[in-house]
Symmetry: C2
Subunit: 448 residues, 2 copies
């Protein structure tokens, strides 16, 4: 044996698993396809202003126990997301300024939205954590799209628009692309719609000082054997161990933890072949589509206009924005998300055309000052071969009920980790950490 356990993927899931196994006295080798650690977290230092920004995952909140505990353990600090001032909503061509979650829409719309949300949350509370396929009426919930449910139950165009914005912002997808059961599952255990979308007290409350990639970097610094630029092309196992192939050669261990998105395993040779249900599951978990765009300004000019920097828009391509300035507030940074169908349209454009489309979108919300940034940065995660998309996998209709049990079930000496396999906070940093802890325990339990 070259080592005790091989971990594939140096994102948060893989590195958390590797740390736990290493702490338990096991020899661990981490194989990472990229030339960096961090997976879907990536902190970049921008060339003009020298400011560091997260072009990948960046938020944590007090309702996310796994990532919060890990940050404490690694001695990393957080700072609050800026949310002082009024939010903006651009809906049906009208601009609204407001505080809190819901824009000041006409009373019938607010009543309709409240009813729809209550109905959605009541349904979501019927989903057992980690096992949505066992929910009452799971087959029926899984046989329709989230869009079908919205269309059927929303009585106003504005309510439909708000729910579509929720889907885009939280799933990086259109509601047509996912099953209702998945929308309920994903929403359920993160404190409902508010838990996923609110800042204070919720999932967007804090950012990591120094950038979110520092988490992976610290985890990797504590490990002895992390190998970059080592993509795995074949995975074998026999009675005594596993054999993984990279361009650098064969790697042999007693167990392997596979901590990259499920979609990336289709087309990789497994010997013996994976069980049919697992193999087909991997074909059925496509990644979301999102372009993360940031524009850097000398100062956060929107703050002096009484704006928080948080905005939603039903036109796009940017549909959600945040004030993403560093703790000290300069330079000012506006963050815009381009999701689902909007992301697909912009994928076809070159970088300059995308930049223009995104800045125009920001200017419709924040005025012409938004058109004159010092610099911009954009990241199309669908174009990243080793992620395949962000934030994570989508479950289309029929997938949870047809294939759910295969998501976490080990295949002999192969154990699955990654944010997609989390019981709660799937596709978040918290879910990645939860899955890494679980996979490490799984290996230790099976050794006996």
């Amino acid at each position: 044996m070259d080592t005790d356990v091989i971990v594939v993927g140096a994102g948060l899931a893989g590195l958390t698993a590797a740390r736990r196994l290493s702490q338990a006295g096991r020899r661990v080798r981490v194989l990472e396809a990229r030339d960096r650690v961090g997976g879907r977290t990536h902190t970049l230092r921008l060339p003009v202003t020298g400011v560091s920004v997260d072009v990948g995952g960046q938020w944590v909140g007090p309702n996310q126990p796994n990532i919060m505990a890990l940050l404490g353990e690694l001695g990393l600090e957080t700072f609050p997301t800026h949310d002082q001032g009024q939010n903006l909503a651009r809906l049906g061509g009208r601009m609204l300024r407001y505080r809190g979650l819901i824009p000041p829409l006409p009373v019938p719309v607010l009543a309709d939205y409240a009813l729809l949300e209550r109905r959605f949350l009541a349904l979501s509370r019927t989903i057992p954590p980690g096992a949505p396929w066992t929910a009452p009426g799971a087959a029926e919930l899984d046989a329709q799209t989230f869009d079908t449910w919205i269309t059927r139950h929303a009585r106003t165009a504005q309510t439909r628009a708000l729910m579509r914005l929720y889907a885009g912002a939280v799933f990086s997808a259109d509601p047509a692309e996912m099953s209702l059961l998945h929308a309920l599952t994903y929403t359920a255990h993160g404190g409902g719609i508010n838990g996923h979308t609110l800042v204070r007290g919720h999932a967007l409350q804090d950012r990591v000082l120094g950038g979110a990639q520092a988490i992976a970097q610290r985890l990797a610094d504590g490990l002895e054997d992390v190998r970059l630029e080592s993509p795995v092309s074949r995975v074998g196992q026999d009675d005594s161990g596993v054999t993984l192939h990279t361009p650098q050669g064969r790697h042999r261990a007693a167990h392997a933890i596979l901590a990259v998105p499920p979609a990336l395993w289709s087309g990789v040779a497994f010997e013996p072949p994976l069980p049919a249900r697992r193999a087909q599951l991997q074909q059925r978990l496509p990644m979301g589509a999102v372009i993360k765009f940031m524009a850097v300004y000398e100062r956060p000019f929107w703050r002096s206009a009484g704006l928080s920097g948080l905005a939603i828009s039903d036109t796009g391509p940017v549909t959600v924005t945040f004030d993403n300035s560093p703790p000290q507030g300069t330079p000012g940074i506006l963050l815009g998300f381009i999701e689902g169908g909007h992301a697909r349209e912009l994928m076809e454009l070159d970088e300059e055309a995308r930049r223009k489309a995104a800045l125009d979108s920001l200017a419709r919300l924040f005025g012409d000052q938004a058109l004159r940034p010092l610099e911009t940065v954009q990241r199309d995660w669908a174009a990243e071969a080793h992620s395949g998309g962000c934030y994570g996998a989508l479950f289309g209709p029929g997938v949870w009920t047809g294939y759910g049990p295969a998501l976490r079930e080990s295949v002999g000496r192969l154990h699955w980790a990654g944010a997609e396999t989390a019981r709660i906070w799937m596709n978040y940093m918290d879910g990645a950490v939860e899955s890494g802890e679980r996979a490490a325990r799984e290996v230790l339990d099976r050794e006996g």
Copy 2:
């Protein structure tokens, strides 16, 4: 250059393309991962009775011009599918004997079915061949599942059951797993529901004498450079050509035709990376789930009972059967299809348990004589690493409208073929041949 064109995949699509290029004077190398040609066609000689059976694709019909022309060109003969006698339908626990397509259900059910079919066909006629994303109202048709549409429009349980049987038999999937737009697209250009499901004059009219794999074998026999057990793990391209990597080494050519199912390209390294939309499309085309089961008897005992061997059942695991005996009628062979959710359940069982479940299913239709075959054979296509499932790819909600144009669009020197890329008869042998002809023309056109 090692050769002019490399074709990946020695199924009908790849070999058709290779033949056309070779006929046009080009040097062609075919790289095939398996130790045989034929892809999703595979003819087996059974050990006990010595009879040859197709465990993969087997039917052709006069409404399929591409495969019929190729059979003629290769000098292969066909023989008619046996359909003399009465069909069986087991619906809601009742057994019905009938002739023709539709069982003698109560008149209100027949009226409901007729209305539903008319509505479905009228919608399907609005879909332009090869470009469903341009259909009127495409976004709305693509935002819901086929199941949603059936549930909304079928007024009787029996009609719903018949439509679910149609989905299972023709898509190897549950209607919950596909978008309504896909169900319409797939159905539209094969002559409607009848075109896909009827024997005489339609897609199931004939079988290939000697087995369907003979087509691939004859195509391969005419080629000089077909390399088996050569799975492609990396695909590179530059200004002057393509480089494909197999365990045997590097293969260099001016163009490549990639003729394996789209799902199998996820996780394979492309250099430069594929365009984001193409890469995400590949994550979104999972393969259907089907187990093909055959039981061989001394003689076709159902014929003497006045039965055709064609049966449908709403209980499963076998939901559709055919008389699959050889032309001379002995031995007698019953073919049972196990699809979608039924296939997923049986995937979890061992071969013996599956055999028992399938035979019990046949016995409920054809009596206890069905329990005593001379031998049986089964093929779970989802367990085949180099197919990933059968008959072909499913388009879930949002995929056609979000990613459709990327299905056939060449990426530089890489050209896509395979039954999934056909304009008409997707996932049929005819579609595979159509796609191979098209890809070959594409390469010849771009050479200039």
